[in-house]
Every structure is written in structure tokens, then in C-alpha cells.
């Protein structure tokens, strides 16, 4: 029987609702102003456009989830990818929905505020401390600025806070309830997301793992729990905290590769096999090529992908100089190089040494592992040759040349053995794109390879190709990229044939895992030249905020947006860090000597606070000291958030456990409120630089320059 009346009781924490609303308001109001490209939007924007066009790209700055979140915002706003993100300050046309582009990072930034509130509660501090932490986060100008544009820090911070919150929720829940594992699952998922947004997330993840394994270790030591229960719990934690994040991380790549299926500007970084999986580009050329290389095949040979620049084996009508600059002699035969561009001179013909013909017989006689071949250069008909002559730039290797007979008793040594290195994985038959081939010189058993040097003027700065006797690395081989069966016997016909594009038909794919590994490896190894930036800074400057970053300046007025933190809260953060360390040191030493100042419960609460907040600050700050890349102030923001959680909690700890007299406590409360109020005032003061409006006069700007090292822009009138 239904019981009447039907009652729903709901408890709503009005403070939580209030801070959430305030968070939304500070982060979301006037989101589409300025209607121009701001700072790193110029960096992320092109990737968003490429997502919209489904064009493949590589970005070494981070895993794809962050970019995909930005792209999702763009997609929801109906962005078509047709905008050129060429410079900071460029106006968006009205067809671009700026609001939706910036919406998701702003939402994440806004949600960080209630998360800070909840996280403080889970650290077992009071609602007042939680409110303090939330307010500090709320009034932090730099977080606001970083949230309001198409940037990824706010998303990262959101996921990291979420991970810690859900983990602590799990840890604090009574061990009898099975519902708490859903919190652990959420924790694993947000860890996966945090790592997916930026590699920096790894450090917070490791910290969380550390805390979790400590808790697990204690659980193992708890003899009241049965062996079975311990095993089950360990497995659950393992799955949620290790397996789930890894799977999710892979999943981001799966989606990424699923979306980006067209060829684009970054194709050349990838292997031929990878490129063949993209629509357009190489697959358009190679589509329908014969698969198996046969005697008489016309091929281009691409040096293996482990080199940074891809290039193709090349020769041209120019000889090695008789004498090099340093006086050494050469064979003066035709140059053989590696050339990083597509060219008609990249074509070679695979010839059977026993036959004269340069055409494919019928049926085609395929080339297999171990076969001896000659390689004939398509345009000049020279044979690929090597001999005991020192190579031009690396004299400890053999020179490789297109053979010319000067009648100087230098016989041709132009036989090469085909050595397919990945024959276990692929096949014994030399296949286009799939097979990696080493060409071993028959007379000297030297191996054809790139030396890594480029030739001087006489070699047109192309890359040097040599034959090396003691060959070390296995991976450096050559792959056939373009391929067709030669049909023309005469040289003129053949030249015409070489000029014509290749078209015949086959379809091939490499597995997702191979793609994932290759892409991830490329992302970690592709190096951008470290560019000095006007606003780059070193980690030691961040702690005291010696630096700022100008994000945007109005094209005609003084209105501008800067990444400047709230100096008051910044000071609170660093003070609380110092205070915690001091307090912890005193407590530890005294405990060691047998003075228990705090009851065990309070002590473990204090330790937990330190692990999460001070630990979080450390893992998000110290790695930067060791990094050599260009760093900016915004890299400090995740670390800063932890300190904002620390401050109020520490204050509460002082209030309840250190101060005994009522007057002291009152004084502390007054001080705290005063600090909070001044944080609010300084937030108000810096608002014009945070939101870019209202425009300030040069004098007012001058007055905002609280530190001489800040770089605030004045427009000359």
C-alpha cells in the first residue's frame, strides 16, 4: 500500500549553492568579450579548426582530451573550422560563436569553486574553512583569467580536484557500503581525464596513488579484516585507480584517431603505414599500388621514421667533387643523397642482376628476403654503388654513389642484398609500405643508411647517405612508399612513365594499437625548438609572482587583459605553506620525543591535509624546476590551488587546537576576516585587467603596477 503523504526530503547546502552561483557568475559573465583571439587561443585554435575539418595533426604539448574538449565546445556552437588563427588580437568574425568556444573551460573553472568547498569538507574541516577555501579560489584573478578563454589549465584543475574529492569521499565512507566504490570509479575516471588533458596531470595522479597505496597498506595491516576481504578490496582499488585511468587514456586516443581521419600538414612525421590510413594525402597516391615489390618495379625509398625529417633516397646529375674542402679525395661519381621532398629523382628501379630488362615480367617475379638486387636510378640510369672510398662528411663510412666508369680500375660494386627486418611480423616478401628493408652491400656487407649530416653547397644541402660496415641500430631501414610495376623498356618512355602519377588499387590498414603507440611516441619525441618568449618566466619567480603575462590588448584603447594573480591571496597561499611546514616540523619532533600535542584523530587529519595540499603543491611545482622547456606563470596555477585549500584549514586548526584563550581566538577570526576582505578589495582592484573592461587611463594602470617587474602595457596617445 502506498503510504501517504508522499514526501521528498532534500537537504541543500545553501552556502554551496551560493559559491557555485558566484563561481559561475565570475567565470561566465561577458564571456564573449573580448571578441578577439586572446593569447594561447592562437595556439589551441588551429587544432580546434583541424578537429572540425577532421584533419590529422600532432601536438606535442599534451594528450588529445584537452583539445577535444575545446573542440566539443566549438562543435556545439556550430563552428565550421573556417577561421585563420594567425595572431593574438585578431577579431573573430560574427560567424564564430566565441561564447561556445570558451564555455567549457569557463564551466570547469567555475565548478572548481564548489569542488574546493567539498574537498575541504572531505578533509574533515568545518564549513567555515570550506567557505574560506572556496572564496580564495573564487577571488583569484589569475584563475578567472585562465578559465575565461580557450585554455586548458582550468580543465586540468577541475579534474584533479574532482579526483581528490571523490577519492576522499570513498575513503571517508563507511567500509560497509558498496556504493562507495562508485566514488572510487569516479576518482579513476577523473584521473584518466586529468592525464588526458595535460601531462602535468600525471604528477597529481601519482600523488593520489601514493596516498591511496598508503591507505591500502594500512588496510592490509588491519587484522580485523579477513584475508578474503583484503584481497577483494585490493583488487577493486587496483582496477579503479590503475586500470580505469589507463583504459580511459587509451580511449581518448581512440576517439582522437577516430575523428581525425584525413591527411594534413603533419602527415610527414608519421610512418608511411600510418599515413596510408588517412584519407587523402599519401593514401591517395599509394591507393591501388601493387603490394609486392617485383624485379622491374619502380619505387621510391623512404628512410625509416625514426629520423626526425623523413626523406627519400635520391640521386641527381651532379658528381662528388674530386677533392673536398679538407683535401680528401672522392670517387667523383654521381652523388646519392637523401632528399626531404617529393621529387622525380627519387625514383629507383629494382633490377634483377641476371637480366637486362627493366620491366616487370608476367607473372611478376617478387623480391624476397635475401634476394640480390641492383637499384637503377630512374632518371639517370646509374646503378646504386658503394666502394671503399670515404664518405664526404663522415669519413669513417663508405661512400655511396651512382656508378660512373672513369676507367680508373674502379669496378662497379652495385649488388645489394635485401634484408627485411620486420619479416617476422610481416612476411618474407618485400611489400610496399609494410616491409622495412635494409640494403646490404654484397661486396663489403656494409649497410645503406643516413649519416645524419647534410652535404655542403656542392650537394645542395641534401642529407648524406653512406654505407656503414659495423651496423648497430636495427630499426633504421627503408620502406617503399610509392610503387608501380615498370612497363617501358626505353629510357624516354620510362621518364614519361615516372612523371605520371601512380594509380592502382589495394586497401590496407594498421591496427589501432600500432597507431596509438606510434602517435604517442611521436608526441613525446617531436621537439619544437625552444623559443624564448617575452613573457616566459622561471619557476622561482612564480612563488612571489614577480612576473605576469599580457594576454590581450585592445587594438585602439588601453583596455587589456593580464594574467596577474590576486596579490593578497597569493601571499596567504605562500604564508600558509610556510606555516604548515613549520608547524609540522615542530609537531613531528615533539611527537618523536614522546609529547603528543594532538589526539590521534586530529593528528591524522593534520597529516592528511599535508599529504594532499603540501604534497599537491610539491608535485605540481618541483618538476618545473627540472624542466628545460619554456615556462609561463600559468603553469603554477594547479600548484596554487592546493595552497588555497591549505590556508583556511590551517587557520581552523590553529583556532581549535593551538589557541586556548577566547581573546586570541577572536583576534584570529578578526584577522582572517580582514584578510579575506582585503583579498576581495584587491580582486576588485585588478578586475579591469582580468575582464579587460573598463578601460583604464595610463595613470590608473601605472598605479596597478604593484611590482616593478610586472609588465603592463601603455598605449602611446
Amino acid at each position: 500500500m502506498l503510504q501517504l503523504p508522499l514526501v521528498v526530503t532534500a537537504q541543500v547546502d545553501l552556502v554551496l549553492v551560493l559559491v557555485s552561483l558566484l563561481g559561475l557568475w565570475t567565470r561566465l559573465s561577458h564571456l564573449s568579450y573580448p571578441n578577439a583571439v586572446v593569447f594561447d587561443e592562437v595556439y589551441y585554435g588551429p587544432f580546434v579548426s583541424l578537429y572540425m575539418k577532421r584533419v590529422f595533426f600532432i601536438d606535442d604539448s599534451g594528450p588529445p582530451l584537452g583539445h577535444m574538449i575545446l573542440a566539443l565546445g566549438a562543435y556545439l556552437g556550430g563552428f565550421d573550422g573556417n577561421f585563420v588563427w594567425n595572431r593574438i588580437g585578431a577579431e573573430y568574425p560574427c560567424s564564430v560563436n566565441v561564447w561556445s568556444l570558451r564555455l567549457l573551460p569557463a564551466l570547469c573553472g567555475a565548478l572548481c569553486v564548489p569542488l574546493a568547498y567539498l574537498l575541504t569538507l572531505e578533509l574533515k574541516f568545518s564549513h567555515l574553512s570550506a567557505l574560506g577555501a572556496a572564496l580564495l579560489l573564487l577571488l583569484e584573478n589569475s584563475l578567472i583569467v585562465q578559465s575565461r578563454f580557450m585554455l586548458l589549465e582550468s580543465v586540468l584543475i577541475f579534474f584533479v580536484l574532482l579526483a581528490f574529492f571523490s577519492y576522499l569521499r570513498f575513503h571517508n565512507a563507511p567500509s560497509s557500503s558498496w556504493l562507495r566504490y562508485s566514488w572510487l570509479l569516479l576518482c579513476g575516471a577523473s584521473c584518466g581525464a586529468a592525464i588526458g588533458v595535460k601531462y602535468m596531470g600525471v604528477f597529481s595522479y601519482l600523488l593520489l596513488l601514493g596516498v591511496a597505496s598508503l591507505h591500502t597498506w594500512n588496510m592490509i595491516g588491519d587484522r580485523t579484516v579477513s584475508h578474503l576481504s583484503v584481497c577483494v578490496q585490493c583488487v577493486c582499488r587496483f582496477v579503479c585507480l590503475l586500470v580505469v585511468p589507463v583504459l580511459l587514456y587509451v580511449f581518448w586516443f581512440y576517439v582522437h584517431l577516430g575523428i581525425l581521419n584525413r591527411s594534413g600538414p603533419h602527415d610527414q612525421f608519421m610512418s608511411s603505414a600510418f599515413q596510408a590510413g588517412l584519407q587523402g594525402g599519401l593514401s591517395r597516391i599509394t591507393q591501388g599500388q601493387p603490394l609486392e615489390v617485383a624485379f622491374g618495379s619502380q619505387v621510391t625509398l623512404r628512410s625509416s621514421t625514426s629520423q626526425t625529417i623523413p626523406c627519400w633516397l635520391h640521386s641527381h646529375k651532379a658528381n662528388y667533387p674530386i677533392r673536398y674542402e679538407n683535401g680528401r679525395g672522392s670517387s667523383h661519381q654521381q652523388q646519392v643523397t637523401c632528399y626531404p621532398f617529393k621529387d622525380i629523382n627519387n625514383w629507383w628501379i629494382v633490377k634483377n642482376p641476371g637480366r637486362q630488362e627493366l620491366v616487370v615480367g608476367s607473372p611478376p617475379q617478387t623480391v624476397r628476403h635475401g634476394d640480390i638486387i641492383q637499384l637503377v636510378h630512374g632518371m639517370t640510369s646509374r646503378y646504386l654503388n658503394s666502394h671503399d672510398v670515404a664518405a664526404p662528411m663522415s669519413p669513417h663510412h663508405q661512400e655511396v654513389s651512382g656508378y660512373l666508369d672513369f676507367n680508373v680500375s674502379m669496378a662497379a660494386q652495385n649488388l645489394w642484398r635485401v634484408d627485411i627486418t620486420n619479416r617476422e611480423a610481416e612476411s618474407e616478401v618485400w611489400k610496399t609500405i609494410q616491409s622495412e628493408v635494409q640494403l646490404v652491400h654484397v661486396n663489403t656487407s656494409a649497410v645503406l643508411k643516413l649519416s645524419g649530416m647534410s652535404l655542403p653547397d656542392w650537394g645542395f644541402h641534401q642529407l648524406e647517405v653512406v654505407a656503414e660496415k659495423l651496423f648497430k641500430a636495427r630499426s633504421l631501414g627503408w620502406t617503399v612508399e610509392e610503387h608501380r610495376y615498370g612497363t617501358s623498356q626505353e629510357q624516354e618512355e620510362r621518364e614519361v612513365e615516372l612523371h605520371s602519377p601512380t594509380h592502382i588499387d589495394v586497401d590496407r590498414k594498421i591496427s589501432f594499437w600500432a597507431k596509438l603507440l606510434e602517435l604517442q611516441w611521436k608526441m613525446l619525441t617531436v621537439k619544437q625548438d625552444d623559443s624564448e618568449h617575452k613573457y616566459s618566466s622561471s619557476p622561482s619567480e612564480w612563488i612571489t609572482m614577480e612576473t605576469n603575462i599580457a594576454y590581450w590588448l585592445h587594438s585602439s584603447s588601453n583596455a587589456q587583459i593580464h594574467l596577474i594573480g590576486n596579490p593578497v591571496s597569493w601571499g596567504v597561499a605562500i604564508l600558509s605553506l610556510l606555516a604548515y611546514q613549520l608547524l609540522a616540523a615542530v609537531y613531528l619532533l615533539r611527537r618523536r620525543r614522546g609529547f603528543k600535542d594532538l589526539p590521534d584523530g586530529v593528528w591524522s587529519q593534520f597529516v592528511c591535509l599535508g599529504c594532499v595540499c603540501v604534497g599537491g603543491w610539491l608535485v605540481n611545482f618541483v618538476p618545473f624546476l627540472l624542466m628545460e622547456k619554456t615556462l609561463f606563470l600559468y603553469h603554477y596555477l594547479p600548484a596554487l590551488c592546493y595552497l588555497y585549500l591549505l590556508g583556511p584549514a590551517l587557520l581552523e586548526h590553529t583556532h581549535t587546537h593551538l589557541l586556548s584563550s577566547v581573546t586570541h581566538r577572536r583576534a584570529l577570526v578578526v584577522c582572517a576576516s580582514a584578510v579575506l576582505f582585503s583579498a576581495f578589495l584587491s580582486y576588485r582592484t585588478f578586475c579591469p585587467l582580468t575582464y579587460g573592461s573598463p578601460e583604464l587611463s595610463a595613470n590608473q594602470l601605472q598605479r596597478l603596477k604593484w611590482k616593478t617587474t610586472w609588465d603592463i602595457l601603455y598605449r602611446r596617445r
Binding site: 597498506w217 592490509i220 595491516g221 587484522r223 584475508h227 583484503v230 663522415s394 649519416s451 645524419g452 649530416m453 659495423l470 648497430k472 641500430a473 636495427r474 623559443s531 624564448e532 617575452k534 619532533l589 618523536r592 620525543r593 614522546g594 627540472l626 628545460e628
Partner: protein
Amino acid sequence: MATQDRLTQWNSTGETASLRNRKNFSSSEKTVVSEDKNCPPVAGHLTEDDTQSSNGTLAQSEARERVSNRESVAESPSAAVLLMLVVGLSFSTRLYKITEPPHVCWDETHFGKMGSYYINRTFFFDVHPPLGKMLIGLAGYMTGYDGTFPFVKPGDKYEHHSYAGMRGFCAVLGSFLPIFAYLIVRDLSQSHIAALITAALLIFDTGCITISQYILLDPILMFFIMAAVLSMVKFNQLAHRPFTASWWLWLLLTGTNLAGAFGVKFVGLFVILLAGLNTVFDLWRLLGDLSLSLVDIVKHFLARVVGLILLPLFLYVTIFAVHFVVLNKSGQGDGFFSSAFQSRLIGNNLHNASMPEYLSYGSTITVKNLRIAGGYLHSHWHLYPEGVGARQQQVTAYLHKDYNNLWRVHRPADNESQSGTPDLVRHGDIIRLEHKETTRNLHSHLHEAPLTKKHFQVTGYGTNATGDRNDLWQVEVCGGRKGDLVKVLRSKVRFLHRVTGCVLYSSGKTLPKWGWEQGEVTCSPYLKETPSSQWNIEDHINPKLPNISLSVLKPHFLEILLESHIVMIRGNSGLKPKDNEMNSKPWHWPMNYQGLRFSGVNETEYRVYLLGNPVIWWMNLASLGLYLLMVTVASIALQRGFSLDQKRMEHSHVLMKGGGLLLLGWLLHYAPFYAMGRVLYYHHYFPAMLFSSMLTGITFDILLKSTELLLRPPYSDWLQRTGLIVLLFTFLYSFYLFHPLSYGMTGPLAHEPGSAMAGLKWMDSWEF
């Protein structure tokens, strides 16, 4: 024995059993038999409280018990025999064929040369601190080497020069490594078997032999590292008898060896870290010992400050003082150091220099950047290549003294050659700097600089005094006012480009091949005063002006010390891998992926190849995994409170304490290489390899002893003994197989039949 019995009576019954067991193990492993049967395994009487409390009386009795045990381990007669065996084998393997090959091998070309420098008292620059090279020089000096061999390049024949002394010295230090390892492991594990396995691993490792046999820093470095660890372990064991003579001795020895390790190479920092962490733990333990008063703890603390901080620091500074006193002649390393530093060196043109005091027009000068290791303003007859700014003559920063560093100071307009006293240059004057050799003017313009794209390019332009407005520079004395004179050597000068307003700047980046890998010089639009944009006038030649003496420059010792460290650190981080050089990666090392060619490439040459004995190295690698597994199992068992018998408890204790220390040592000597940007070589792994081998000894020992869990006593003993014999025989046989790597081979390469190494090229990456 009597003391031991008395001690035994003090202890509880459980511990009695344990003592007896241990005595059996330790006293002679040849007669490991018998009494075990008599002692039934004592199960689970140790509660959690017992295991966790390390305070107070229990700890003391425990410690005392361990000491008595240790003494019994050390004193038994077979111990002495074993030790003698280790010593004999170790010295004989290291000193065998020490003079072969009679030519310069690998880095001997550097360190031998530097040894010669000490004998000749010539100043040089090296990225490592001086102790190692000083010892090499000393060894050479004592054994009759006269410092005349030039050590030009690897492969040069020594001929009549006496080099065996220097090699022998390194080999003797290298011979101590297995002995130290033996003692360390014996003390940590109280087991001869573990110690024996460790010593055998190191004695029969071809890599350790090879690296000990040549004039290198590594044997010296490793000697100090191992000596430091050994004294630290000994010191730890005396924890129950603080402030006794032997306690002080080991403490001070630890400090001395730490200073020695750091004085040979900066890698010594890692062993300092190890000792530091160990000391912190130790102090923490003392702090928790409530039977000690605060005064005692402060005494402990101060003793360690003296022994482990002040003493090493003092020794280290002394080493440098000796270094500077010995090397008092000018050499080829001068240019790396500041003008003030150079004025100390006999033969340097700044030594007791006298030159005109104030910069004047018509003088010939060299201009040195103020950044440490900043280099001289330099130009030469080569142009910037196409695509790098304007195709004009290169201007670079060059560290060595060279006639191309000479510049002439001129007025903007005329190329004056009037007689009479030349005018002096003043703050704010506009000048033109003409390169003496090529007569080009120092020039800048609005093209981007080759490497620092935000700066402007600096070139040499014009001939014979004809140039354009872009050749004009304004002289600015830092902190000076208009009209101030420019003091040679002492004034910091900046050169502001007249037309673009930028300032002459040395970026510290190295130009590629086309610029001969010299430093980049740019014109920076950012006018901040940094050492990079400040220069001083070093040489100043003007026959028309009176010279004054400049002995005021002599720097203070601490200044020299600081400067030479900054130069060394710069030099170290400047050792970047070149593009085409095969760079060794840290993950290659533990798996013995690739060695180093010490000597010889071709079939006819005498070839020595630095490569660890693969059997031993792979066993080390495997035992790392095994150790982690065993320690995990043991600690989970303890944490879950499973009842373990006394012996298992002890084994877990050795695994966690001793093994933990060694694992930490391995990590500290290995992991940091992953973060290093400089070029890395295979031989950097050797200190870590020592720790790894010691860990292997302990791991295998305990693994063998754990066979008792599977089999009943007599069989388990047999199994243990067979295991040990098989292990030792494996080491010996693999050494027999691979010994040509260290003692040299000639004849065909390994991939051809008939070679000494035929069939032994197990990995394609080995190059022998």
C-alpha cells in the same frame, strides 16, 4: 665464545635459538649441518609490538646481540681464509696484463694528459674536480713518469715513457672494490655466502676489470664511493657504542671518503646523498630513543655535523687549494676563466701585466664577455652562410686566446695615425671597432641573429675603415657618468649600437658547424644590465702610452674557488650530445646493451672492449626484480601479521634493512641520469652496478636459505650448497668465455669464425 654464551643467557629463549642458528651459518659454511634439527622453529612468539619497537632496552640488547654475532662472523678462521682468497683473486685479475696494450686507450688521452699537466704544473680546464687527476699525476710522478708524453689521441704508442705506474695505481684502487663489497655485504647480512657471491660477481665481471685497468677517474671514484659506504656501514654497526674511538674513526673515515668521492667527480654527490639520508634516518632513530637526553642528541648531531659536513668541506677546499698552488703556469685552459683569474698564472699575458691604464683611441685590445666562460669577441674570414641574416663576416665569442680576438679602437670618422699622445676613450663616446686581422668593422643591423631570433645579427662589415653608420657603437661604462674614463680590466663596459639602440650581447648559445661551434654574439634590444651584455677590456696594447702594473687584480681564494666551480658546471652542462653521435641511453645500461670501445677497431689491432660480463649483469638485473618480489612478500607477511619463525624474521630484516640501503644506493646512482641533459656514456653505470651486485649477493643468499621452506633440513642444506657452487661456477665459466674483452684480443672480429669471441656476440649491438 665465552662472552657469547653469557650474552645468550641474558636473552630470551627465542633469541637463543636464533643466535645458535646464526652462529652455525656464519662460522663456517663448509660445515653447515647439524644443529638446526635440534632447534625446533620458534613460531609466532614475536608480537607486533616487538617488531615495531626499536627503542630502549630491547633495541640495545638486540644491537649487542648483533655485535657479538658480527664479531663471530669476522673472527672465525675460515673468514680470514675467504678474505685472503678474495684479496688475492681481486688483485690478480686487475693487475694481470696491466701494461697491455702499450698505447693510449680511450679517455687516457684526457686523464693521462691532465696527470702530465700536474707534473708540469700547467693550468688546464676540466669539467671534473681535481682530486682524481692529482692522484694520477702523483702516481705517475712517484713511479718515474716525467710528464713529457703528449697523450695526443687514443692509439698513440707510449714507447719508452713510463705509464705502468699510473695504470697500476688505478688498478690497485680498482682491486679494492670487490674487497670492500665483500666486507659491506658481510656486515649488512651477517652471511659469508652473500659476501662471497658479491665478491665473485665483481671479481669476475669483465667490465669492472676493464674499467680498473686504465688511467681513468672511474676506479678512483668508485674506490672512494665504496670506501665511504663501507665506513658508513661500520659506523652504523657501532651505534650502540657511541663516542668510542672506533666510532669516531669510522665517522671521520666516512667523511674523508665522501670528500674524496666528490673531489674526483661530481657523481660523488650521489653517495653523499646516500650517506646524508642514512644519517637523517639514524638521527631520527636517536631522537625517538627516549632513554637519551636532549643533550646526548645534540652531541650526536654535532658529531655528525663535524664528521660528515665540516671535515669533508674542509678536505674538499684543501684539494682545490693544492690544485691552485700546484698549477701556477699558464696553459690552454686560461680562456675559460676571467681576466682576474688569469692574472695568477705564470706565463699568461696578464700575469704581473703592465699595460696602459685607460682605454684610448688607436689601441689594440681584446674584449672579453663578463659572463663566466663567456669568451672573447672574435671574428674570422668566414661569412655567415646563406639564409642566416646578411652574408657578411661572422662575429662570434671564442674561449681560447687567438690573434683573431684583437680589435682596434677608432674614432668614427678618420683612421687616425697622428703622432703624439692618443686621446682617451670616455663614457658616451662613439667609437668604431675594427677587427685587426680582417680590417672589418664591428657592425649590426636589423637582421635577426642566427640563433636568438629576437636579437639582431652582428657582423664584420666594410674594409680598411670604410663602412657605414651601422658600424658605430657608443661606449658606456656601467655605473659611470659622462666623461668617465674606461679602465682596462676593471671597468664593465657596454657597447650600444648607435642606429638600432641595441646592446652587444653574448647569448651563450653555440653556433652550428658553419660557425665552428663558437659562441653566438648578437645585438640585444633588451637593455637590461646583465653579465651577458657587459664586457671588459682585457689586453690593451698601445706603444704610445705608459704602462702601469696591474697587480691589484689578484683575486681572493674563495673567489677563485667559486669561479672554477661555475666554469665546471657550465662545462658539464655544455657537454650536449652532438647530432650524429651515438648517444647511450640510461635504460641501455643495466641490460648491458652496448659497451665502449677502449682500443682497436680492425682485425689487426689489439682490441679492448668495455662490456660487463653479460651473465653477471643479467643476473643483477633479474635479481633486482627478485629482490622487489621477495621484499614485497616479506613485508606483506609482516604487515598482515603472519606468524613467521625466527629465521624468517631475520631474513626479512636483512632484506629490508641491508637490501633497502643497497637498493637506495643503486637508485641514487642510477635514476638521476634520466634527468641529465648532458651526453652520457655506458661507464656512468658502474657505481650503480656495484650496488646492484651487492644487492644480488644478499638476494641470492636469502633465496638459497629460503629453500628450507620447501625441503627438510638435510636436503635443503645440500640444495643450498649445490646452488652456491653452481652460481660460482657460472661466474667463473662466463668469465673464462668473456675474458678476452678485458685482456685484449687480436685477430678476426666476433662475427667471423676463428675469433676468440666467436659465437659470443649474443647481442647485435655489441661491437667486438
